[in-house]
């Protein structure tokens, strides 16, 4: 039995675990505010809030219900636009109306929910962050200007929310209806986790599987990671960091220690998927997907990373580059799972940078992405790691180029030779993300961009 709360309603259902949550909401519960726009997480018309208890505390964030299997809702509070109550428009809804930020209205419920999620987030609200809350919502009518005005209005009327009790503050100020105050207790009463009976398709965040084959998942059934301790959480021991495979992109990007080690982490994160997808998609899923342009794979290939696998034969750990064996082919035995990723945190002498160019800057798949880490000792490159996606059948660690850089002076001559070597190491193909020539050019430019961002003094004008 799958048990959860949908708005103010207690749900117990025996419907298939793999049914998209969106279909349950619309066609089983009859609440049609969440819309079917694309069923691939790209438009945000089906965006809802997901509330979950973590260590007794209730936190909400946005997810796309089209890519969420029904059983994932177990034990959680799902909130659709109807769940904001019918009494009076909330300040979010009012801002949208006041600024005429609605036209055909099809994207509007998703946008209202994304902005409500923003109000519920515990990050400091800046204009930049507030606007980014809508990075997973498409609107084909307004051209976004009126939406921006509505968001700015919210920033004016949203005074500093108390950090400790945002929910009660939001209830008091009409952002949420009163029943939200009961949700912690209600969810606590759903004790047992959802257990599926048989061997089924294992789903992590679902953000790729549900794009590729939703019908097949409905037939095969789905099962989930069961929050195994070794696969959750981010642990740092000395300079080695372990990220569990179930950790979401958002959790990585908001981790204080990681933000300290990667000062531009938040900006990199903006180039990866969208807010709701980052709330759902996991590190393990990004690696298991084995896509040649997987953003996290590229990010971590430029660090000294290993992947930890657990299976019937026990645990093994292998260097991340060895994990990717061919197009969509992994060194993963039957029954094995990705448990975690380990990597060396960059020290004070190590310079790291991530670049990505896609047709659209946000919520798009890279034409080419790349990461570079360089450890300098007195102007000499002690170690370098260059990775690139979209230029080979696998997320590529450019071993020869990286090796070449080691021991060299960091100067234009070295970089020119490294560029030539990198071009030999890659084998891009022409596809919808760009022609082969473009991808070759783009990698060269991104390599230059790494140097430009990290060592502007080395990067000379062309």
């Amino acid at each position: 039995m799958i048990e959860f709360w949908l708005n103010d309603q207690h749900i117990r259902t025996a419907l298939p675990a793999g049914l998209p949550l969106l279909d349950f909401i619309r066609y089983e519960s009859g609440q049609t505010g969440a819309k079917v726009g694309c069923r691939e997480g790209d438009c945000g018309a089906c965006l809802v809030l997901e509330g979950r208890l973590t260590a007794g505390a209730l936190h909400y964030h946005s997810i796309v219900s089209c890519l969420t299997p029904l059983a994932k809702a177990h034990g959680r509070h799902l909130v659709t636009i109807e769940g904001l109550g019918a009494a009076a428009p909330t300040p979010v809804q009012k801002a949208l109306v006041d600024h005429s930020a609605i036209q055909c209205g099809f994207c509007t419920p998703g946008i209202a929910m994304a902005l409500t999620a923003l109000c519920l987030s515990d990050e400091d609200l800046t204009e930049d962050r507030a606007l980014a809350a809508l990075d997973g919502n498409l609107c084909r009518c307004t051209g976004y200007q009126s939406l921006k005005r509505a968001v700015r209005e919210l920033l004016l009327i949203l005074p500093i929310r108390p950090e400790d009790r945002p929910i009660s503050w939001l209830i008091a100020h009409g952002f949420l209806p009163a029943y939200f105050s009961e949700m912690t207790e209600r969810l606590t009463r759903i004790a047992a986790p959802f257990i599926s009976e048989k061997e089924k398709t294992l789903v992590a965040g679902g953000t790729d599987l549900y794009v590729q084959r939703p019908d097949a998942l409905l037939q095969s059934g789905v099962t989930f990671f069961q929050n195994a301790p070794e696969r959750t959480g981010i642990r740092i021991e000395e300079s080695r960091c372990t990220i569990g495979s179930e950790v979401t992109s958002t959790a990585i990007l908001q981790h204080p220690a990681l933000r300290a080690h990667f000062p531009r982490l938040e900006a990199y994160g903006r180039l990866i998927a969208s807010t709701p997808i980052r709330n759902m998609g996991t590190l393990g899923g990004n690696l298991a997907n084995a896509s040649p342009i997987a953003d996290w794979a590229i990010f971590f290939l430029a660090l000294d990373s290993t992947v930890v696998l657990t299976g019937p034969a026990g645990e093994r750990e292998l260097p991340l580059p060895h994990f990717f064996q061919g197009y969509k082919k992994l060194d993963l035995q039957p029954g094995e799972l990705i448990a975690a990723l380990r990597f060396e945190l960059p020290g004070p002498d190590t310079f790291f940078h991530f670049e990505k160019v896609s047709k659209r800057k946000h919520l798009d798949i890279a034409s080419v992405n790349s990461a570079l880490s360089i450890r300098l000792e007195e102007g000499i490159i002690a170690q370098a790691r260059l990775s690139a996606g979209g230029v080979s059948p696998v997320p590529l660690y450019l071993e020869k180029t990286s090796h070449f850089l080691q021991g060299k002076l960091l100067n234009a001559a070295t970089l020119q030779q490294a560029q030539a070597l990198a071009q030999e190491e890659i084998s891009p193909i022409s596809d919808i993300r760009g022609s082969e020539t473009y991808k070759r050019l783009l990698l060269r430019q991104l390599f230059t961009a790494h140097i430009h961002e990290l060592f502007p003094e080395v990067h000379e004008a062309p």
């Binding site: 109306v97 209205g105 919502n137 800057k361 946000h362 050019l441 004008a461």
Partner: protein, 755 residues
Amino acid sequence: MKHLDSIAHVTGRSRYLDDIPEQKGTLHAVVFGSPVAHGRITGADLTEAARLPGVVAIFSAADIPGENQIGGIIPDEPLLADGTVHFRGQPVFVIVAENDFTARQARSLIRFDYEPLPICTDVQEAFEKQSFLFPPRTFQLGDVDACWPDCAVVVEGEAATGAQEHLYLETQGAYAVPLENGAMKIYSSTQGPTLTQRIAGRVLDLPMHQIEVEVGRLGGAFGGKEDQATAWACLATLAAWRLQRPVKLVLQRHDDIYMTGKRHPYRSHFKIGLSKDLRILGYEVTFLQDGGAAADLSPAILERTLFHTTNAYFIPHVKATAYSCRTNVAPYTAFRGFGGPQALFVIEAAIAKAAFELGIPAWQIQEKNLLAEGDAFPYGQLAEKPHARACWDTVKTAYALPLREKEIAEFNRQSTWLKKGLAMMPICFGISFTKTPMNQAGALVHIYQDGSIGLNTGAVEMGQGVHTKLVQVAAKALSVAPHRIKMEPTDTNRVANTSPTAASSGADLNGKAVQHACAQLRQRLHEAAGKLLQADPDAIDIREEQVWLSGKPTDLRWAQLIAEAFLQRVNLSAQGYYATPHIHFDKSIEKGSPFAYHVYGAALITATVDVLRGRYELDSVEIVHDFGNSMNPALDQGQLEGGVAQGIGWLTLEEVRYNAEGRLLADSLSTYKVPDMGSAPKRIDYQMLQAEGPPLAILGSKATGEPPFLYGIGAYHALVNAMQAFRPGLQLDFEAPLTPERVLMALYPPEKEQS
């Protein structure tokens, strides 16, 4: 007045097609689209699919009782393929099952055999083979051949614009319900309820009165649900009629993207000649329109391309010829601008090329040639109150063009890896359906006994706010508060023989019909009030729900007046009708006066290019737009801003490509990228031109649906201008969209890199 649907939209209570509660026994349909772009069907095995539990029926062309024909202008498009398929995704079978999951499973079990036929996906190839959908047309003014010797500079070139997917957030869909006595009710997500009704009747061999089409609202359309909503409505209706059960057919996004047509790609050749003082003397252009596999709306779109050949300029010698070429892709269709943007792109490319040749900014040529009162368009209509120059001059001063040029030049001197550019973009767009008979509309207004009002028109609400404007029109005409008026769903049983809500004309045509109905009601109410007050009806007035007599308020208020009028047996319903006067066009000579009026405007667009990565941003779009007397500035602003973003999307990110097999390469939202908040212009500012609106615009408020889309063309030139700051002498090939790939490849051309 706020958009009528504001509260319903933000609370998620607005009902779209897929939200209509399903009747008991409703079945679900999916469409099997041709897996090949061109082929002769040699056989199909449906047995496995039909055997799947839950599958109720699979229909093919043979099951159509009437005509298997949905072509609106030219009868060249079957509803279901019969013998031959002409594009990938062309409907071949419709599968009906207890639920859509089962229907999709069944679809995957259909075996389809065919004999391949040659596939053409290239407009140039189709042109060379003289493979046309209908005969070409030519518009002429003056004597272009004779003018070239008088020109100080003549340049020639090519320009090409790509297709554009509508990406209305609500996909196409219909829900067909059998009624008693063989009638059918169709809920359809269509811009053209009457069109749907007429074609469904043709397909089922039913008279139009047996088919009722109702439209609540659309989740966006942009032209994509004008002709191309028909097929899905007809397929659902065919299945419902044959099974005598309700059938719902809602396309999944992937099916919608690959089965439906898009904005027409054009490839054009131009020749432009200028005098020494930068006056354009001659312009000769050949448009190759890629029409796809069937005519659809292409004849009308091609015509509008010709109408907009010269944008907002007067050119004394013009020759424009347009060919519609047949290719094996989904028939291209209406999309905001309707062929106009494609024409404007070419004239602006020609001007940019001439400017490059002369080493001057393009705006100097643009400015010299703007339309003046009485100038002739190539189709013979004379420009009446053309606000092209007023808009231009206001933009230039309000947004400080010379200063901005200086600032950008200074920025570019300081910055190596970011470069800025700007462009000016004047626009001109003709308002009216170019097919004169379509410029008519009806309205039905009921005043109920309690004083509340029901308003019926042919206008379909798709986000543009036409229903809001119509309520404003009625409220003003009857002098009542808008809250008394309910806008009814658009329904062919209430208002018949309507034109699609298209051509930016929805508010004008339907608004004038509403005014006509309300004027009749006003007259009757004045008479009723006259009886009550024992006064001359001519001395009666109604102001803000109060009856006035000889210029003084009386105690008689709206609700009481209506109640009394009912007792007096006054007809409280009125049917209004409107046909745009004065417009005409003679195709045999390609001359006439087809437009009620023109909309003008001008924009200054600035952009920044990251010349290291090829990425770019649109910094600002500053516009002075000719709204006439805007009756709803908030709605008009929404149309302006939305149109600009969509126009920019067309020329920057939105790339539609087919491979040689006619397979659409960007066939999902993960590969077809429309503007998001991050890629929309950082700032759109505008001013309303201070000018009286024309009498043929509703309340003097000019149509705003399509014209703003045209400003997007300026974004292309602003980007090129920025790129030229990095690579002086860089000349682009006028191939749009200008994707980040095209930008980077142009900034670092391979051959130059080697030298």
